[in-house]
């Protein structure tokens, strides 16, 4: 009680000290007189302030004990010794309740596990594998005893292998080189095996994938690898990978291999393009021959049919038809050409021939 008063007086004393001139303007006479009292140590408020200072400064005790003492004094001043003991108890039980709450929360949070669909919870009791939780909410023992590690078993992961940009060449069975890019799709089949069997599962998949792919590629020819047998190769690699991983008891399921790119190396790409060009050329030859063949066939049939028709008519009146055809033809022919008829047999015409006559003026003009 005294302490509070003392503190209050100190504040008031300070207030008075600072606002001395201001205080005088407000017109309170008793406070106007107090500043000189305070300096002397005569005023009642100023005295209590001084005493408080003396207690702190002059005792010479350690700060911890002083703190304890002050705390004790605070309760003692409030309501006596008994009252002080009683007022300490609710405080302690509050801490206790807090602790209980904390432990309870810890128990709830570490013993209730909600496993999302597609995941499994692998439970280890003191480090030893105990059992695997399915999806849903399940209870286990609290944390230091049981620990749950969630593993995603449904989602399919992809690892890309082979060349991505830089060329990564593989040897084929016929000692050619091929530039392959492929990916492995996999998921976790047995979560506890996946967690506890392999030190580096992803790296293992990577290496096993590469090894299996190269082993299969080394058995097929370049054309097979680039062409129709891709699906077969993919399937075989997946099967080989699964066998190897199972022999490690990896708990991994290989879902499939996808060959994204199977090209000849850049260095020989031109030669491969030439093959394509040659295939086009060959097709061109064949097409041309077919066109010729069709044309010739039609023409021969047309001519033969025409002859047959004429011959049919000719057979009815051979002599007349023959003469008629002869005259018609000669008529057409001779009407279009320059003709010279020489009467006397054995006489060579020395007159300039019509063609010569015709051509000489042209030559002169030139």
């Amino acid at each position: 009680m005294r302490y509070f008063l003392g503190r209050g007086s100190r504040i008031r004393g300070l207030f008075a000290d600072k606002k001395g001139p201001w205080g005088s303007s407000s017109g309170s006479g008793s406070e106007e007189e107090s500043p000189p009292d305070d300096n002397k140590g005569g005023g009642p408020w100023g005295d209590s302030t001084r005493r408080g200072h003396r207690v702190i400064g002059g005792s010479g005790m350690s700060s911890l004990e002083e703190l304890l003492r002050r705390g004790r004094a605070r309760f003692g001043g409030g309501g006596g010794g008994g009252g002080g003991g009683f007022s300490g108890r609710p405080n302690r039980s509050l801490i206790l309740w807090g602790l209980v709450g904390l432990v309870a929360a810890w128990l709830i949070f570490t013993s209730m596990h909600s496993i999302e669909p597609g995941k499994r919870g692998v439970v280890t009791r003191f480090g030893r594998y105990s059992y695997t939780l399915g999806p849903g909410v399940s209870l286990t023992l609290p944390s230091p005893i049981d620990r749950v590690k969630k593993v995603d078993v449904e989602s399919i992961r992809t690892i890309d292998l082979g060349s991505e940009g830089n060329s990564d060449l593989m040897l084929t069975g016929d000692q050619n080189l091929i530039d392959l890019a492929y990916s492995v799709r996999w998921n976790i089949r047995t979560p506890e095996l996946y967690l506890f069997q392999l030190a580096a599962p992803e790296q293992t998949i990577r290496e096993v994938g590469e090894s299996a792919m190269r082993a299969v590629i080394s058995r097929v020819t370049l054309n097979d690898a680039m062409g129709d047998r891709r699906a077969e190769i993919e399937e075989q690699v997946a099967r080989n990978m699964q066998t190897i991983l199972d022999s490690y008891r990896a708990g991994i399921q290989v879902q499939g291999i996808a060959i994204k790119q199977a090209d000849p190396p850049d260095e020989v790409n031109d030669a491969f393009k030439q093959v394509t060009a040659a295939q086009q050329d060959a097709q061109t030859y064949i097409n041309n021959a077919n066109a010729y063949s069709l044309q010739l066939r039609q023409r021969s049939q047309g001519e033969a049919t025409a002859f047959d028709k004429v011959y049919e008519q000719y057979r009815l009146a051979p002599e007349v038809t023959r003469r008629r055809m002869y005259y018609e033809t000669m008529e057409q022919v001779l009407s279009k050409v320059d003709k010279t008829i020489v009467e006397a047999p054995g006489v060579t015409p020395y007159l300039p021939l019509p063609q010569v006559q015709k051509s000489t003026p042209q030559e002169k003009q030139q």
């Binding site: 009791r125 003191f126 480090g127 030893r128 594998y129 593989m170 069975g173 000692q175 050619n176 080189l177 506890e192 506890f196 580096a200 293992t204 290496e207 090894s211 190269r214 080394s218 190897i244 260095e267 020989v268 030669a271 030439q274 093959v275 060009a277 040659a278 295939q279 050329d281 060959a282 097709q283 030859y285 064949i286 041309n288 021959a289 010729y292 063949s293 010739l296 066939r297 023409r299 021969s300 049939q301 001519e303 033969a304 004429v310 011959y311 055809m325 033809t329 000669m330 057409q332 022919v333 001779l334 279009k336 050409v337 320059d338 003709k339 010279t340 008829i341 020489v342 047999p345 015409p349």
Partner: protein
């Protein structure tokens, strides 16, 4: 006691902490992924969670264990399958051809005590296994021909690499599960270039042969068409060779003097005729 706590709360806390830590340290938790060698004053006394083949996960071994505090130390050793990668090696086959080989081995520490005594820790173990793997691979692959390296039989070679590697690895308490060739490549430079050249020439050869085949097929098709046309003509014209001769002559005259061939008009022609010509026989009025 309570008085002591009241008097020395800080010291009490520290002591309690130490006691808890010692207690925790006395009951180590052995996880599924680890084996442990308990060493008492530098002398291995027992093994925790030792790998045994065929034993399912979750069987006794892993779990909570004990040790004497301060006197016993625990050396943790991985129980899982681990891998050791061989550095790229150049292998010379019996027919003096070079090949770059990458291989890896998968192993498991089956005798942690032996491994602890012989190698010390896992890093030193892999450091010792790696060169052995390299030399074994080189030895075994150096005994076969180049072509064999690329065939299915190479897995047989790898099995013998595995066997000989296992003989050495056993001394370290390690079991080799699998040795595999990851990659076999031609070395850069001359061997790679010559392989490219071979591929190129093979493609050119293929291109030529495709062209030749195409040409051959074209010729056959044309010849067949010619033959069939001849057959058609013969069947038709053979009925009266004499008339065909006349008929064709007439067509030929027209083509030569009037309509021209191949769409071109005929060249200008002069014809000198004798009145005795058959066509002009009526000129002289000496009809039959």
């Amino acid at each position: 006691m309570t008085g002591f706590i009241g008097r020395r709360p800080l010291l009490t806390g520290v002591i309690a902490l130490i006691v808890v830590l010692v207690l925790l340290g006395s009951f180590p938790i052995v996880p599924e992924t680890k084996q442990a060698v308990v060493v008492r004053f530098g002398k291995p006394v027992r093994i925790l969670n030792r790998y045994e083949p065929g034993r399912p996960i979750g069987s006794p071994g892993a779990g909570i264990s004990w040790r004497i505090p301060f006197a016993e130390q625990i050396v943790w050793i991985d129980k899982r399958v681990q891998d050791v990668d061989m550095q790229r090696q150049q292998v010379l086959s019996t027919d003096q051809r070079r090949l770059q080989v990458d291989a890896f081995a998968r192993y498991r520490i089956v005798d942690p005590l032996l491994m602890y005594i012989r190698a010390g820790d896992e890093k030193r173990l892999t450091d010792q296994l790696r060169p052995i793997l390299g030399s074994e691979v080189r030895n075994e692959l150096g005994r076969v021909e180049f072509a064999t390296l690329l065939t299915p039989e190479r897995q047989g070679i790898m099995d013998s690499v595995k066997a000989s590697l296992n003989r050495i690895a056993r001394q370290y308490g390690v079991e080799v599960l699998d040795v595999r060739i990851k990659r076999t490549d031609l070395p850069d430079g001359a061997p790679l270039e010559s392989a490219f050249d071979r591929m190129r020439t093979a493609r050119y050869q293929e291109a030529q042969s495709i062209r030749a085949t195409g040409m051959k097929q074209g010729q056959i098709i044309q010849a067949e068409a010619d033959a069939q046309a001849a057959r058609t003509y013969a069947a038709s014209f053979g009925k009266d060779p004499d008339f065909y001769d006349f008929y064709r002559a007439m067509q030929s005259y027209k083509a030569t003097f009037v309509s021209g061939t191949d769409g071109k008009p005929p060249a200008a022609t002069n014809i000198i005729l004798s009145p005795q010509n058959d066509y002009l026989k009526e000129f002289t009025g000496r009809a039959k």
